[in-house]
Symmetry: C2
Subunit: 419 residues, 2 copies
């Protein structure tokens, strides 16, 4: 076994041990660890920024884009934001230990479920070092041990943050293996991690589609993920155009580079031409490049011809696919065929159309008269977000603290045997 | 693409289409389909038994054990039991469409979850043809489409049952692709099925450990499973021996070949020797062969020496591993190390010990003063069971109709945009 393999082995084993002990501690200890970590981020800012400079120097030498360097930088503001996040997570309530679904059986057995941590969560992510702190905080708050593998660009920053977490855990009297970082940028470390199905209970990959596909292909551990966000808005003939236009613009333009931005707009052919043109022109005024089917192209000479690929595209910029559909059924068919099942919204004043759309669209979040940009843990009132799932098992859509818990069945008897 | 590959493609595609339409049908239609199927099983008994004879003939030629042939036989009694099962599932309540977890956000958005079917469920199982009917009924009741791949030994029986399901679905006005069987005994059909992650949402394998490992190794679709059941009972010094002995005997002897039977008994060294001997002798009287550590071996000359392998063993017969432990912490450590995380029970009159055991044992079902044999969907009041999960995500322990559902987020707005 290689040195690295032995290291991963030890990390996974220690994480499992820490997870078992985290199951039965009071949440106040966790909150203390989070608050201590917040203090350490401030008192150790100089050390953090010194380590961060090593990453920044390497990034500049590698010629990373200024946007990427920006995301990598542990500025005072970035650190302040992590501090704020830690305090917010510490203040959230936890439902670990809560019991529910109780039933008394005819034989007298009392059976119920108890909410418990999942165990060991593995997070595999790219570049931004703030994910190290945010993800660890949410995992810890739900009383899970976490094994973090960040991007190689942020290696020194992440290791420094990990060191502070170790210190915060020790101060709070928690096992220091509750938060661990993979101390290697070697790609094979990820493969090794993905095989530790005896120790790691859940993998959450965060990053580009290729990272996530690699994780899914190689993991023997359950993965919760979203590959991409191809979100749709359908404007029905019964839409209020004064809601439709701001929502369409907001969903595409406010922050086009994120997964809950709209990527395809479906406009009903029964919406009066004048209103359809208004929507198209509003998009063009906002510098959106449009790719449409032939029916949509009639609305403006600025619309380019869409190919089949455009219906699947996650542009993540100011491009948008637009299709004219004949009725709500065609809109729903289009969505259920091409969507990434992240978030879809209908703009309509009809209750009947709303009911059909909400029921028949098979996506994690289905909206009416709202911007797809709202699909977010914070906006849903979770207080934090560990990721967004387009999977259907365990958790769907934005995932918060409760999504990092599971349950066990408790059976209380008085000597019952089965006949 | 081979003919088989094309067939699997079509089956998966049709299942997905059926699943989308099943989302929004009234559950009364599903119940009609189940009741029609029950009637067809009775009116078509002769046809079923004729097809079943083909399987039985082949099984006898292959020299299958009489136990296996027994499980394969569609006797009048076996058919009556399927009819009963269908009627019971039809009578169960369904929570598809139920909404919960509602919150109104400061911006006026109304956000809640709606319980929905998972979509397409793939079941991969061995020999017993009754699984075809039971599994299809539970999947259908929760408004999922199901793709079934049964054991090759039951091929003709399963295809005949599938034909009846098609007819029942058509009578009830449901898409006939809601229940489909893979019409091939070719092993490669399973591999093809496991790659259809765009159409199939969940795979449930039911059978021996090697089948399940093969499925996990090859699936790109989430799998819920249990490899095996290595269930423990810990007899504390504070146990009531009049509860301990009947429970220990029941857990090992009543039906040793099933996953919720006890495989390791942990006896506390502080339990008086006389009581420890009573337990051991009761097991020996019930023809149980014991494998013990050196401390336990002192209790009877009939106890053979256990090896490390015995602590991991799922015997599924009248063998039992027995270990003497020093205190509850050692018992919990042993369980969390060697258990398959299926079901464990403590026998004690101490509330404090009960609390520690229930909280710290990391298994799907944790019991006090009850036989592990109760870990079962029927016994838990679910009315049915699609399988038992030792995984931690989505569902844990016995799985019923609700475990075959998920949720989507519904967001109701009135023109809100994100700032």
């Amino acid at each position: 076994m290689s040195t690295l393999a032995k290291q991963i082995d030890t990390l996974a084993f220690d994480a499992k041990k820490a997870a078992l002990s985290l199951q039965s501690i009071p949440v106040s200890k966790v909150n203390n660890a989070l608050k201590t970590m917040a203090k350490l981020l401030k008192s150790e800012t100089a050390m953090l920024q010194k380590e961060n400079k090593k990453d920044l120097k390497a990034a500049k030498e590698k010629g990373l884009s200024s946007a990427m360097i920006d995301r990598l930088t542990l500025s005072d503001k970035a650190i302040e934001s992590m501090v704020k996040g830690l305090k917010e997570v510490a203040a959230l309530s936890s439902n670990v230990g809560v019991t529910y679904d109780e039933r008394i059986r005819p034989n007298g057995l009392k059976i119920y479920k108890m909410r418990v941590p999942i165990g060991v969560v593995g997070i595999i992510y790219e570049s931004r070092p703030n994910v190290t702190v945010d993800a660890a905080a949410i995992c810890l708050k739900s009383q899970n041990a976490v094994l973090l593998r960040g991007g190689s660009e942020a290696f020194h920053s992440n290791m420094a943050l990990g060191k502070l977490f170790t210190s915060a855990l020790e101060t709070a009297g928690l096992p220091k293996a509750a938060v661990q970082l993979i101390p290697s940028t070697d790609r094979s470390a990820v493969d090794m991690m993905l095989k530790k199905d005896q120790q790691i209970d859940l993998i959450i990959p965060r990053g580009g589609e290729s990272l996530i596909r690699m994780v899914v292909e190689n993991s023997r551990i359950p993965v919760i993920k979203h590959y991409k966000g191809v979100c749709h808005i359908y404007v029905s003939p019964k839409a209020d155009i004064n809601k439709a236009i701001p929502i369409v613009i907001n969903a595409k333009v406010q922050r086009p580079g994120v997964c809950n931005a709209m990527e395809t707009l479906l406009i009903d052919s029964k919406l009066p031409v004048k209103k359809r043109v208004q929507i198209i022109n509003a998009l063009i005024d906002n510098k959106v490049t449009l790719f449409g089917d032939s029916e949509t192209m009639k609305l403006s000479s600025a619309i380019k011809k869409a190919t089949e690929d455009d219906w699947y595209a996650e542009y993540l910029d100011l491009r948008l696919a637009v299709r004219t559909v004949n009725g709500i059924d065609e809109a729903i068919d289009h969505i259920n065929t091409y969507s990434s099942h992240h978030t879809e919204s209908i703009i309509t004043e009809s209750k009947q159309e709303t009911a059909v759309f909400l029921q028949q669209v098979d996506s994690a979040s289905v909206m009416v008269n709202a911007s797809t940009r709202f699909a977010d843990g914070g906006e849903y009132g979770m207080g934090c977000e560990i990721g967004i799932s387009t999977d259907k098992l365990h958790s769907r859509g934005p995932m918060g603290i409760e999504d990092l818990t599971t349950y066990k069945w408790i059976v209380e008897g008085n000597g019952q045997i089965r006949s």
